[in-house]
């Protein structure tokens, strides 16, 4: 699931730098801005882009775990944060926490935090689907040859190690090691040898891969890159939309439109027509890549022109 696969989607046809720029703007916006409507717009745009790339299936599968994690954070925030002034519920005294007080502001704040995290998560999913690691390596290898190789090896290593772990665990079971019963300590202790197997195999394997790379002249001098990207109108559309959206985000930060204070009392959502315009503008700009990706998958005409 987390392995890149070549598929017929718009974002894979783009230059990796274009997709990266777009995703960077979305992530930067969701980290810097605090206004709930801005954050909602960011989430909707990247969610639409993922949906237009046919990534909903994977998103649904992996979002469940993420949502439970998020729910825990949200509940904790609601319970612990007591700076809000609209009290909904006043509970009993708990020794370490003091009195449990649930406020409307804390609930809203937790919800918005959740959307923010979900945006980053969705952007990551899209990144995984859209950016070819080989091309990413090629791009970065021109800038930082050594670290790029390291990154490439690392991305390949995770699924590889998982496979190895699985087979080592099977062997251990066949030798009579029990992973399922006994106290927690016993179970953890039974798993320790697997780490040793993994560690030794990984060391041997990396030595061999290193040898193969050496034999194929890696690092023997300046490198060239196989990928030639034909810049297409789609690249420019996405880049311009992302940059314009970035400009609006910066402006919203400077003028304070993108900021929102939750405590002690929730701010007014929209304070000026300029703010409304910048919000709508940013949302519309960031929605463009999703729309183009959708059109790209629907009409051949658009596929050739964009």
């Amino acid at each position: 699931m987390l392995i890149y696969q070549r598929r017929d989607i718009f974002f894979q046809a783009l230059h990796p730098a274009t997709t990266l720029a777009y995703l960077a703007v979305v992530v930067a916006g969701s980290v810097l801005l605090t206004h709930p409507l801005y954050l909602l717009a960011l989430f909707l745009s990247v969610f639409a882009a993922l949906a237009a790339s046919g990534g909903m299936e994977d998103w649904r599968k992996s979002v469940r775990l993420f949502l439970t994690f998020m729910a825990v954070i949200m509940v904790l925030n609601t319970l612990i944060n007591q700076t809000g002034s609209t009290v909904l519920f006043r509970g009993p005294l708990f020794a370490p926490l003091g009195r449990v007080v649930i406020t409307l502001e804390a609930i809203i704040y937790a919800l918005v935090m959740g959307i923010r995290l979900l945006t980053v998560f969705t952007a990551f999913m899209l990144f995984n689907q859209a950016v070819n690691p080989d091309r990413l390596l090629a791009m970065f290898a021109l800038l930082f040859p050594r670290s790029a190789l390291l990154v490439a090896l690392a991305t390949k290593t995770v699924p590889y190690l998982l496979q190895k772990m699985q087979s080592a665990a099977e062997i251990a079971q066949c030798r009579g090691v029990n992973f399922h019963t006994g106290s927690r300590l016993v179970r953890v202790r039974n798993r320790l040898p697997l780490i040793r197997v993994l560690f030794m195999s990984a060391l041997e394997d990396s030595f061999n891969i290193g040898e193969s790379i050496q034999a194929r002249a890696y690092g023997s001098g300046p490198r060239t890159s196989y990928f030639r990207h034909r810049w297409r109108p789609g690249d420019f559309v996405v880049l311009i939309a992302a940059l314009a959206a970035l400009l609006l985000i910066v402006l919203s930060l400077l003028w304070g439109w993108g900021m929102f204070s939750y405590y002690p009392r929730l701010d007014q959502l929209i304070v000026s027509p300029q703010q409304a315009a910048s919000l709508l503008g940013m949302g519309a700009l960031l929605m463009i890549p999703a729309l183009v990706a959708w059109g790209w998958s629907k009409w051949n005409f658009m596929r050739w022109k964009i």
Binding site: I3, Y4, Q5, R6, N132, P133, D134, L137, A138, A141, A152, L153, K156, P159, S167, A168, E170, I171, Q173, C174, R175, G176, V177, N178, H180, P193, R196, V197, M200, S201, E204, D205, N208, I209, G210, E211, S212, I213, Q214, A215, R216, A217, Y218, G219, S220, G221, P222, R223, T224, S225, Y226, R228
Partner: protein, 561 residues
Amino acid sequence: MELYAVENLTYYYPDKDTPALCGIDLQIDEGEFILLAGPSGCGKSSLLRALAGLIPDYYGGAVGGTIRYRGRSLADWDRRSLAREVGLVFQDPEQQLLMTSVEQEIAFGLENLGIAPPEMRRRVAESLSLFNLTELKGRSTFTLSGGQKQKAVLAAVLAMHPRVLLLDEPTSQLDPVAAQELLNYVQRLNHEWGLTVILVEQRTDRCFPLADRIVMMEGGKTVYQGPPREMASLREERYVCFMPPVAQVFSRLGLKNVPLTVKEGRRFLQENRLNSAAGAAKEAAPAASASCSVPKATPLNPLLKLENMEFAYDGRNPCLKGINLSFYTGQITAILGENGAGKTTLLKTIVGLLKPQRGKIFLHGRDITGVQPEKLADSIGYLSQNPNDYLFHDTVREELAYGLKIGGRSDPERLAKMMRLLEIEHLSETHPRDGASGERQRIALGTVMVTEPLILLLDEPTRGLDPLMKLRLTGLLRTLQTEGKTIVVVTHDVEFAANVAERVVILYDGAVVADGDRKTVLAHSLYYAPQVNRLFRGLDGGVLTVEEASSKLQILQREVD
């Protein structure tokens, strides 16, 4: 034209007291096809790495003597120009693929050499076409089969347009069909492109006749160099097992012109009128050397019984279909079949790693379907394809003792006995991963056998073993058999199966298509007939092993005389 001139090459790996290479002298001409053979650990791989400049560049250590490549000492070549000249393919394709897609993998070396993009695109396209990989170019290397992976590795090396191709046991991880395909490519590159090929290979039956020269090594030295036919006529007992089975049969006759292939062998039989005598002999003694028990006649109850077993990984499409098999005490069974026929799946289902959707498994008449593998560990020993998964202690002794420790036991006597049996006593205080592949294999087998299971399931135990070790493994399995162990071997190696097993099962597409005495199953088989069986096809179908063929040949000669 002389390409390589190796003079008095000696090499010590770092922190080692004995040399891996010891006074090697070797000349290699452009366009030659050289087969480097010899027992494991004889220095073949080290020599190959020295020719590629990886020794001492990548490995360190101490080197004496010189290697000259095209008249210039290897030390004077810079890494980039040497990588343009010399291509290297290693054993395990998994450990050579770096990129996610096949196309990018092929481009990787070219990028490193700084080839201009237009030239690079041409070379990638040509390389993909040459190896018939165009359809796979966008595929993730994770999803390829072993044979496809190794082909991608070869294509990636060839795209760099080397003059010399060095191959270190390139087929040892592949099934016979994929191995044959890879060697066909190597042969074509040598014949049609004039590429110099230096090949290290354990299974020599396919590549022995292809070579212009065989270089035999032992203990870091070259002990013999010469054309294959000359080597086969030497009657040197030490070298015999490194030849293909047909050559082994005829080399004992002391001929000048030893047949090396089935075709040459059959012609020899015809020319010497041995074929007509064979027909008569067949009438006279239909089963001259049959000494096998037929499983169906075995009166005992089966030790292990699979009843109508079906298994599907995805829960829908079965990859084991209605398997009915019984295994009897003291019997060695070989399971043959193509890649993906379900051989490994079958073993994993028996040990309990996979739970069959349908059917039952009985051990001693007790239903063990769905029992956790750890509960079966005392009765069923399972050796997987990768012995490394068994080795993680600091010494071989601890490694073997671990098997007993899991069950809360300790029994130094049994450990000593096991190490004696497997001939690994001298390694008992060394690190289990220090050994060569044959040693690792035996140590892993020891970890499985130390609990004295009744049944041994071995998955591809001959992978990466040299012919001598294969003979020792055969002997070991026979010894275990006399001790009453039941052994099931999954293998691609037909010759090994013919030598060791009395019963052969063939799986095809998840179902048993043949099961019976080795003679009835292997003889006359189109696909699974051993080489010597094809030699005597139409004359005596019961001949399966080199020993049987040799005695058959003697009988025939006596009759003609």
